[in-house]
């Protein structure tokens, strides 16, 4: 448990340090093109410069902090408490805040393109909060895997909550479809590095769920989103597994993660009772695969070594003081 708390602390520390930059630089811009005051009428006077509302800056900081907090909590619930129920509470909370309240923006998935553009186009700038949202989950993935996907990402949350009766996707099909997300990532980067006139923010434009968060959106995307949710009743998180371009980056980084989910609380039995417990196809050879494990905490209940399954005659696994 020491490692888990260390990871949580690290994520929190990073998040506290990073947003400070966003308060320092006040955003100002000369007004050059405005309608003349007379046209507006009613004695309107154009201000010399435009200031963003200070509230917005504060909200960015709050967003960044909440993100870090939610990821820390998610890590602790999954690795420390090993509780699916608490994770559902966190998932609902994050869905309500990052999804419905913040209307699905800022999100790291779309930030892929913003960050890519900022890297290739000197005239394009991104707010600091976007950088935080983009990099924090990546750092976490290197430390403990895809903890962001677990209870934090609103797009994942909405699919996770609708999952009703999971079916196992045949492994070959699963692997084949899984490559789509890499293609999507390449396409997104391709459109982002294109010259400004051809630039397309395809990730945000074709975000299937943001329409639900805003109760409004293009009809076709609403249909796609509805279709994905309907599919998501039986296939766990189809967007995350097969399409999410950010998931593609996380999957690569998570392979190098230093810690990850272990299905059993203490000793490995290799009994195989967990093989079908993962709705996301992330269990191979009776172990959670770091690159596709989305920290959903569902497999724990299937382990005969989990305290809820143990008869009273068997020594309870050591929880390491958590």
């Amino acid at each position: 448990m020491k490692q888990v708390s260390l990871a949580v602390l690290l994520i929190l520390a990073i998040s506290f340090i990073t947003p400070i930059g966003s308060f320092g630089a006040e955003y100002t811009r000369e007004v050059d093109v405005v309608p003349p005051d007379a046209d507006i009428g009613n004695g309107y006077v154009t201000p010399p410069v435009q200031h963003p509302q200070p509230k917005a800056a504060w909200w960015s900081a709050v967003d960044a902090l909440l993100l870090a907090l939610a990821m820390g909590l998610s890590a602790w619930i999954v690795l420390g408490r090993r509780s699916r129920n608490w994770l559902v509470v966190l998932t609902v909370g994050c869905l309500l805040y990052f999804g419905f309240y913040r209307e699905g923006c800022v999100c790291p998935i779309g930030a892929i393109q913003n960050v890519t553009v900022a890297l290739t186009d000197a005239s394009y700038t991104v707010p600091f909060v976007v950088l935080v949202f983009f990099f924090l989950p990546l750092i976490a993935a290197l430390l403990i895997g895809r903890v962001f996907c677990g209870g934090v990402c609103p797009l994942g949350a909405i699919q996770d909550l609708v999952l009703l009766k999971p079916v196992q996707v045949p492994r070959r099909l699963d692997k084949a479809l899984g490559t789509l997300k890499y293609a999507y990532l390449i396409l997104a980067v391709w459109y982002a590095v294109a010259p400004a006139v051809d630039r397309e923010f395809i990730i945000c434009r074709f975000d299937p769920f943001v329409g639900f968060f805003r109760f409004a959106g293009p009809g076709n995307m609403m249909l796609v989103g509805g279709g994905l949710l309907a599919l998501g009743l039986f296939v766990g998180r189809p967007y995350c597994r097969y399409l999410c371009p950010y998931g593609a980056i996380l999957a690569i980084l998570a392979r190098f993660s230093w810690k990850g989910v272990t299905i059993t609380p203490d000793k490995e039995l290799d009994c195989g009772l967990c093989v079908e417990s993962c709705p996301l196809g992330a269990i191979e050879q009776m172990r959670a695969v770091p690159s596709s494990c989305l920290y959903c905490a569902r497999c724990f209940a299937s382990c005969p070594r989990e305290p809820i399954n143990l008869p009273s005659t068997v020594p309870q696994p050591d929880r390491g003081g958590v």
Partner: protein, 934 residues
Amino acid sequence: MSRDTQRLIARLLAGAAAIATFATIGVMIVGYSAAVGRIAAEKQRIDELTELAREDDSQSAALVAEWDRQTEASLERDKRVAKETRVLVISAVLLLIGAKWSVRLGGRRVPTAKAIAAHRAIWEKRASTRRRRTTGPAEAHKPCDACKAQAIDLGFVDEVISRFGRSPEATIPILQAVQDHYRYLHPDAIARICALTEITPARIAGVASFYTQFRHSPVGRHIVKVCHGTACHVAGAQAITDELRRELGIAADTDTDPTGEFTVEQVACMGCCTLAPVAQIDDATFGHLSPDAVPDALDAARAAADGDVCRPRPPLPSEDRETAPLLGEIRIGLGSCCVAGGSGKVHQALEQAVAATGSRVHIKRVGCVGMCHQTPLVETVIPGKPAALYAGVGPENAAAIVLRHFRPTGTRRRITAALTTVAQKVRRDGQATPITERAIELRDPPVAAFLGPQKHIATEHCGQIDPTDLDEYLRNDGFKALAHCVNDMSPEDVIAEVSRSGLRGRGGAGFPTGLKWSRVREAKGELKYIICNGDEGDPGAFMDRMLMESFPFRVIEGIAIAAFAVGAREGYLYIRAEYPLAVERIRGAIHECEQRGYLGDNILGTGLSLRLNIMEGAGAFVCGEETALLASIEGKRGSPRLRPPFPADQGLRNKPTLVNNVETYTTLPWIIRHGADSFAALGTDKSKGTKVFALAGKVKRGGLIEVPMGVTVRRIVEEIGGGIKDDRQFKAVQIGGPSGGCVPAFLADTPVDYEALAEVGAIMGSGGLVVLDDTDCMVDIARYFLAFTQDHSCGKCTYCRIGTRRMLDILNRICEGRGHPSDLDTLEELAHAIKKASLCGLGKTAPNPVLSTLRYFREEYEAHLDGRCPAGKCKALITYRVTDACTGCTLCAQHCPDDAIGFTPYRKHEIDAEKCTRCDICRTKCPEDAIEVV
């Protein structure tokens, strides 16, 4: 709230929410289509009014009114849609909650045993071979009289006869070659042999029925040899055999499966005791087998036969590698044990990895390192740097080891190596262990404890030199002792030196070597023979094999020294046929020595001559006895004869003959080089020097060890062996194989010494040392050894032939719980009679295992008479039961070959005693130790 009420509420909730959801969707669709339907009319109305207003300015008020009305209506509609959306969301969420609730109440979804097995099959990539098994091989082959009578091409027989000659002495080699070719002793081939040679049908029948190696009926396309040596026996060889027969569907009265694909044989010992249990399928040896690994092993054999084994790529050609400086060497143990542990594949992988770095690194095959429990072992040696040792290496670790010590040359190779490393890490997805975890340090306490008490004399330079490289042997003081003898000493000096060293025969009986030599030296006769006894038949011993495989040149040097001392000019190495690698290495070494003048007609330019031949044994334990061995070389049944005359006076072909054990010879070069005094300084009063032991059984660290005489048994077991596996209780050590006895734990402070061991009822023997724990039944051990000696009794002496049979019958009865209270006394009585009335060592010592277990573990015998087996080994006396510690992990049910355990996940399992065959698989598989034997 009861489950039913909950379910009712959940269903009601879901139902109501479903109605609301679909109603809202309906209302929305109706509203949407109505709005869509009105669009054209409303647009038309605006157009009309616009037209009117353009013509008549007074009409513009109507247009504005219409604008306002339509705007109002549109806003109204938006509000209504927003309201409907909210209702839709809420009802959908409620529907979801209701549906999830009722799904949850439906109970936990648990995979079936079949599903788990299917998943395993996918992972282990066994699907294709499994399919092949169910469809079976194309043509069925049943051994029948018609097949036996089938005509064969006899040209090979003629060729064999021309190779081995026509004398009766060639019987065994001819039969071996014929069996090798036709896979059994084909009657036509035998008839041909009799017709062409001086060998009579009676002699062939006698020899072929005496040696267990010879088969008299056709066999399957693959031959499975299951080792039933002591270590394998206590590690569960019987379970392996049972599982093989069950898996292949072999009937009780035959050894070949109905399709003629596999023949299952039991062999006495393959000398891979630290890898127990071991089985050999065709040429591949499988170590650490478990019954559930049997199907995989069979599949591997089928795959190998079909030629679809994954062949590694040949090393990349590289011009600059020839000229590059030699950076160092990588040593890999390639003894039989190591190869069975998988070092052959590691060797290939290492070669490729080195080729990929582009540097010149010598990959050296070395003999046995001794740490057989850690195979495969890889050691990297770079001048000026400390050597690094890796244990338990697999082919997948090869690249990592090479890259850790040898930087690839050139930028391109470096980048490739870095990328490959990353790519492999990505591909394995966090499931590989870093190579640093395989590294072991010589200073590590377990390694230090293993090596600390050892003293390498016969096994000098173990793990450091290439067994097939004569130059390397020469660089490491090879043949210096022989040169010293022939140049500076007289034969009498050599004998005196050996006598002074106190060396005693390492074959088991401990006869003083110097005394034996002077007797042969003094014997009259121009022609004298020298024989190296490498017929290591004791189950549980593999020292001689290791010495011959790892130090063939040292064995030859020792023989040459002895031949010089006694004046022999011709000699034989009698090697078990079960040791093909030893035969190959010795044959190669003899050839090389003859080429280089260390053997042959002019040894080291002194005019002395020595010709060595190899005689392969044919699977008769009794041929370890010297007179039986001589008879065997003469092409007869291996029956011992009365001594005197001793072989020293009348041995092979009635000429004076020196017979010594492999280890005795191997020790000689060291004695000559270091002087008799330094050898005599080691050991005890009467037993000097060191002794090589094959440490196996229930110890943590098994292997080939060489310790000074006088070390206590306890030190060997606890310090070198690291104590008992799984921290069980140390019960006894079986020393000396079927002729030896068991030293119980309370006598573990007995020093290793010929006399001290004899005193406690064991013998030094050739050095097999099998450690037993509390799960080993001593009655079963006694029965095991007696079954072995009974099987190998040559039948000459009645007491040995019939007495051991009677003893075995009694022991079988006791193990089946049908013992009689007087049985123990009868056993003792028979044992003493057999000891007295037998001619050779086999009969004289055969009752030893029974006597020593009766002496120290009589209460276990008595427990069996009461119908209990305290160790839980004797199948007829035990039942298996699941305790409350069962967590319901289903592993036992998944592995039970008899379907005696139901698949009940998360609940306590039950064993059906009727179906249970006591195969012990469930107990070994249970991770909670929740299966007990009662």
